[in-house]
Each structure stands twice: as structure tokens, then as C-alpha cells.
Amino acid sequence: MKITLKMLGTYREHLLPKGEKGILEVDVASGTTVGEVLEQFDIPLEHQSVILVNGRTLELDHVLNDNDVIAAFPAMAGG
């Protein structure tokens, strides 16, 4: 199934060279969790990252569905 990765802020670089502008569509096997996908792209999974699935705050062991969008960015004081 297909999911979309959206890396924001300085995490954009984790998707280069394929994912220009911080966006990349990837194929994953059914049953794959959020944490497993992010590990493949070296996204820190601990408290230094904010991770959202379809804009919602979910646990890393959340099992992905077709067309899910995972967004991640470094936890950092904001606007």
C-alpha cells in the first residue's frame, strides 16, 4: 500500500534526494507501523521529534492504512 511522508522544518533533508520539498510517496507492506517507516529514514523517534499521522498525534506502534500521511518535524519552540 502507498503512504506519504511529509518531513517539515529541517527534517526535509532526510528524504533527499528522492523527496524534494520534503514529500515522498512510499510503498509499505500492510501491518507496517509508523515507527518502522520513520526508522528507515533515520528520523529520531524519541522526544526530539513531533510525529503526526493524518495531522493527529498517534503512538509509534500505530499500524498504517493505505493513503496515510505521516508528518514529522523536530520538536522546537515555535511561532
Binding site: 517539515l8 522544518g9 529541517t10 520539498k21 513531533v50 495531522g55 518535524f73 519552540a77 515555535g78 511561532g79
Partner: protein
């Protein structure tokens, strides 16, 4: 005294007299400094029901004990006064260089009373203090005024001044310092204009003494090292400034779009940090000695929107960009320059135009009143609106009153997205519930700076919490409002303080901040006594509001937030369940059900005479 100079400069503009006052050390400790000292003076020396634009209002510039010390980001000041926009207290915060130079004059606070018979400016070079004529500067923009003031005083001095917006008493006028930095919110610039005070110029070499110099240095080095390692690892704030945020809030579905009609903007790619970096960034710009450098020095070459200056920051991208439906970054950046030159708060200015755009499209404000079409997405109409707002020309007279008075004049105050008449910043609270409670209860109206729980709800600092639940939010907001009062009173920047000086395990208890306050002042704060001081400041501000006639009915949000579910995105279907959070919040604060601090609470905080 250490950290504090313990000296206050009092300027009676009516009589053109200058006096100084020394401070009682107990009062210094109990109210920390900055915002804390200022509300103490305001509360004891002015009638809270006085007209904010009358000579009875006081205008206070306040530094904190950590301002101009080696504390990282110890370079903030607050402007405290009664707000003409809200009728509540105002505490507007700014960085840049001015705050450090102000402290180096040897005074912690400048207090202005009365109204000068003619335009004047204040020049303070340590003991050399003069009220000087400013007739020749009246009508001039912030940049020109700053250049002339430096020529007339000392090239290395620092300037805070108003532009045409403040002179014309536009209720969203800012006080600009170092040309591009703003003590922006709730019309402090209009108060300065009402006093005929064009500018304040400061110079000096009097650094505050430190109680434990070595301890302070070692501690500050550690924090700076931590920040530097984050910057090296890739800090979004350093890399993109706060302009990285539109993509984040858009992803959460809380980016203000077309006057908060929705929370996702189809043009977000046009106004985000990478676009700013690629097209217009000259270099990051730091406030004095700040290791983060979130400011942006930018230049637009586009013929129509040509200019050079600082910004835009996130709040501007939101209020002037997505809230007005504008995705043209050159135009938004130009509009930001116009606000800086005129001396306008970009949030209230942008949001007032956004409200006008919605009411124009709904047929509630006729085109003949405005003089031109004012639709969402029209950058030229936006820029024109900002100019006439600052000059109070034509429809600008109505815009200059802010979104609430404008919408009420046309019979529909519900179109104003404001709390206590202060326009919302860039987080739609339907998708960040804690922010909803904050906007409703903040002593200055809808400000994120009063206890910015978006750090946790949105940015994961000090740790990520669910933005859509109301569970635990009353407790967190109470705690964060008190904690932000400490940061403001101390003279620090919130960006650094929340991440590096508060304890994430117990959500924002200021353990590192307690240490740095003690290294600086030697005042022997415990974490408890520091938190109590924050609560004391917050409650005294609330008592100012109570005396000015505010109560529970003012602790509310516009109907759009309470009754209109978010139409799309991750927060779809959500409203702010304010009433549930509010009653819990009052209980935690020790206030009665009408939102008034009880005598027991005031006694416990040493405020029995309030």
C-alpha cells in the same frame, strides 16, 4: 543589589520633570522585575477605569534582572500600560538590542506619566537625561525617525519609537525598537502617541552586577553549548526562522485561513520557510547575544513589492498571509515592511483586514465605504488597507479601531476573531484546545505570549501532548500563565526558556531558571517562591482587570470557536469546549465563579491590599 539596579526613572511629560527612585529589595524579589514591577506600579498609581489614551494612563518600559546579563537571551523588555484596544492591562514584549542598552543606562524601569504639550523624545545616557523636542520627527516613519534620532544623539545608541500609526492613535500601533523589532500587541504605540512621546533613545555602560559571576558564567556556557549543539544538528528556528511553522500548523489543520473560516490553506507552500529562504533571505538575524538567531533579514527585488528589512515571522505569515487568503510571499513580506515602517502590530493589523475581507465578501461592509474591492487573496488591497489604517485616512479610520469595533459598527461583532477585543494569533484553538482557554483567560486578551501551550500541543516542547483533548488543559494553562509571567518579569525570551530552562518531566517547573535567577540576584529564590511570584504577578494583573470592570463574561471566545465546528482537516468537527475548562481553571486559580480572585487567594499571595 545584584541583577537589578534597583533604580527607576520617572518622567512626568506634562511638567517636563525627571525624577529617580530606588527600590525596596523585598518588593524587587516578590515581583521579580519587568512585567512584575510594572504591574505593581500601574496598579498602585493609576485608576484602572481611566481612559487609556488620556494623560492619566501610565506607560512603563521595564527590563528584568536577567536583561543585560550573560544569561542566554537575557535581552528582553516589556511595555506595560492600560491598552486602548482592550481596556485591559497591556504587556508587550520585545527583543533586539534596545532592551540591553536600556538596562545599561543604570535604570531598570522608565515610567512615563501625563502628556507632553508638544511632541518630544527622551534621551537617556546614564545620568545625562533630557526631554527633547520632536516636532520635526512627527509624521515620519520608524526607519527615518530612528536614523534622525541616532544622528541627534549618539550613533551607537539604541532607539524605540512610534511611527505614523502611533501618532494617529491607531489602536493596533506598536512601539518599534531597533527599527524592526516590535513591542506590538494591544496598542501600546497609541498610548505613546497619546502622550506626544515620539521616541526613547538609550545609551550607557552600566552593566548590572552579578551575585555569583562564576556560577552564572558556567551555567550560561552550558545552556549556550546545548543551544549550539541543537543549531548544529539542524534547528528549524535557526534555519528557517519561525517561518517553518505554517507547514506545521497547516498539517495539524489549525493554520488561520480566511479569517479563521478554516484551518488549512491551499497556498501554504507559497508562504513557508523554505520559500522565504530560497527567494528572499539575506541572512538570519539574532537579537543581542542570542544563540538561536530566529530573526530574518530579507530583501525583495520584485518591482511591485520591492524592499528590504526584517521578517516575516510566523505570526505575520499567518495574519497577513493565510488569514487574508494571500499566498504571495513577496507581497506578505512587503506588507510586513509597511507595518514595521508605520509601526503596526502585524497580527491585529492583518486580522482586522481579514475580518474586513470576510465582511466585504458577505456584503456586510459596502464597497463605497471602503473605496475599493477588498476580497480575500488581494495583496494590493491588503497593503493599501495597512497604509490607510496607519494614517487613519478614509476607511482607515474604521480599520484603525481594530476588528471588534469595526465589525460591531457594521452590526456583526461575531466576525471579529478576538478575545477581549485582541485579535487571535496563529493557532486556531478548535484544533489546540489549551490555546482556546489561554486566549479566553489571558490578562491582555488573545495572546499566545501569555502562556504559549502551543509549544506542547503543536511543537512538542517540552513534550508533545494531544491538542484535541481538554483533559488537564486547565491545570497546564494556569501553570504556564504563571511561568510565562516569570520569564517576562526576568527579561528572558520564551523560545529559550521553555526548552532549556524548564523541567519537561513535571511540565514547566522552572528549575534551571531558579538557579540562574539566584546566580544573578542572590535573592535566594526556591522554585516554589519563584512560581508563587509568577502567580502573584498574574493575579495582580487580573485585579487590574477586575477594577477596570472585567469579569467572567469577558473570558470568552467568538461564536465561531464555540459553535461552528472546524469544517475540514484533522480538527474537523471540533469546537472549543470552553465552559468546561473555564470552571476548572477558576477553581485551580482560587477565583470565585465569576472569575474574581478570592480574598483568601490574594492574602496567600501577599496581595491583601489589592
Amino acid at each position: 543589589m545584584n541583577g537589578w539596579h534597583g533604580k527607576i526613572l520617572k518622567v512626568d511629560l506634562e511638567r517636563s520633570t525627571i525624577t529617580t527612585e530606588t527600590l525596596d529589595p523585598k518588593m524587587a524579589k516578590d515581583f521579580i522585575g519587568g512585567r512584575g514591577w510594572a504591574i505593581k506600579y500601574l496598579y498602585e498609581n493609576m485608576d484602572p477605569t481611566a481612559d487609556a489614551l488620556s494623560p492619566e494612563n501610565m506607560l512603563i518600559f521595564a527590563t528584568g534582572p536577567l536583561t543585560s546579563t550573560p544569561a542566554p537571551t537575557g535581552n528582553r523588555y516589556m511595555v506595560v500600560t492600560k491598552s486602548p484596544l482592550t481596556g485591559a492591562v497591556s504587556n508587550s514584549n520585545s527583543g533586539g538590542e534596545f532592551p540591553t542598552w536600556m538596562k545599561r543606562t543604570g535604570f531598570d524601569l522608565f515610567i512615563f506619566t501625563g502628556k507632553a504639550p508638544r511632541p518630544v523624545y527622551l534621551w537617556v545616557n546614564e545620568e545625562e537625561i533630557e526631554i527633547r523636542d520632536a516636532e520635526h520627527l512627527w509624521g515620519k516613519d520608524v526607519h527615518t525617525s530612528t536614523d534622525i534620532l541616532l544622528e541627534e544623539t549618539e550613533p551607537k545608541a539604541k532607539v524605540a519609537c512610534i511611527g505614523p500609526a502611533g501618532e494617529n492613535l491607531a489602536l493596533m500601533a506598536a512601539i518599534m525598537n531597533d527599527k524592526h523589532r516590535a513591542a506590538a500587541r494591544s496598542g501600546v504605540g497609541a498610548v505613546m502617541g497619546s502622550k506626544n512621546l515620539k521616541g526613547v533613545v538609550v545609551q550607557g555602560k552600566k552593566k548590572p552586577s552579578l551575585f555569583d559571576k562564576e556560577g552564572m558564567r558556567a551555567f550560561s556556557r552550558e545552556i549556550t553549548k546545548e543551544v549550539a549543539s541543537d543549531v548544529k544538528a539542524g534547528s528549524s528556528l535557526h534555519e528557517y526562522g519561525t517561518a517553518y511553522v505554517p507547514q506545521v500548523t497547516n498539517e495539524l489543520g489549525i493554520l488561520p485561513t480566511r479569517n479563521f473560516q478554516s484551518g488549512q490553506f491551499e497556498g501554504v507552500d507559497g508562504i513557508d520557510g523554505p520559500t522565504l529562504k530560497e527567494k528572499y533571505l539575506i541572512r538570519p538575524k539574532a537579537c543581542y547575544r542570542c544563540p538561536i538567531a530566529c530573526g530574518r533579514l530579507t530583501k525583495v527585488d520584485d518591482a511591485k513589492y520591492k524592499g528590504e528589512g526584517e521578517g516575516p515571522e510566523y505570526e505575520t505569515l499567518s495574519a497577513i498571509g493565510s488569514a487574508c487568503g494571500i499566498d504571495n510571499l513577496a507581497a506578505v513580506t512587503k506588507a510586513n515592511y509597511v507595518c514595521n515602517e508605520m509601526g503596526l502590530d502585524t497580527i491585529t493589523a492583518g486580522m482586522t483586514v481579514a475580518t474586513a475581507m470576510e465582511m466585504y465578501e458577505e456584503g456586510l461592509i459596502p464597497e463605497e465605504d471602503i473605496g475599493y474591492p477588498l476580497s480575500f487573496g488581494d495583496p494590493d488591497a491588503l497593503i493599501e488597507s495597512l497604509k490607510i489604517m496607519a494614517h487613519r485616512e478614509g476607511f482607515g479610520h474604521i480599520l484603525a479601531e481594530g476588528s471588534y469595533r469595526m465589525a460591531a459598527k457594521y452590526g456583526h461583532p461575531e466576525f471579529s476573531i478576538s478575545a477581549k477585543k485582541l485579535e487571535f494569533p496563529g493557532y486556531d484553538p478548535r484544533g489546540a484546545k489549551g490555546m482556546g482557554l489561554l486566549y479566553a483567560t489571558s490578562n491582555i486578551g488573545a495572546s499566545h505570549m501569555a502562556g504559549d501551550l502551543a509549544y506542547a500541543e503543536v511543537f512538542g516542547v517540552p513534550k508533545k501532548i494531544d491538542p484535541l483533548t481538554i483533559k488537564n488543559k486547565a491545570k497546564l494553562i494556569k501553570h504556564w500563565e504563571d511561568a510565562f509571567a516569570i520569564i517576562d518579569a526576568a527579561g528572558l525570551c520564551v523560545f529559550l526558556s521553555v526548552r532549556y530552562m524548564f523541567n519537561p518531566e513535571i511540565m514547566i517547573a522552572p528549575d534551571n531558571l531558579t538557579q540562574i535567577m539566584n546566580f544573578t540576584t542572590g535573592a535566594d529564590y526556591s522554585m516554589e517562591s519563584l512560581l508563587e511570584a509568577g502567580e502573584r504577578i498574574y493575579n495582580l494583573e487580573r485585579m487590574f482587570l477586575v477594577r477596570a470592570g472585567f469579569n467572567k463574561t469577558d473570558d470568552t471566545l467568538p461564536p465561531r470557536m464555540l459553535e461552528e465546528p472546524m469544517p475540514t482537516g484533522p480538527a474537523q468537527g471540533e469546537v472549543v469546549e470552553l465552559e468546561d475548562m473555564l470552571s476548572e481553571f477558576y477553581k485551580l486559580r482560587g477565583w470565585d465563579e465569576n472569575g474574581i480572585p478570592t480574598p483568601e487567594k490574594l492574602n496567600a499571595l501577599g496581595l491583601s491590599e489589592a
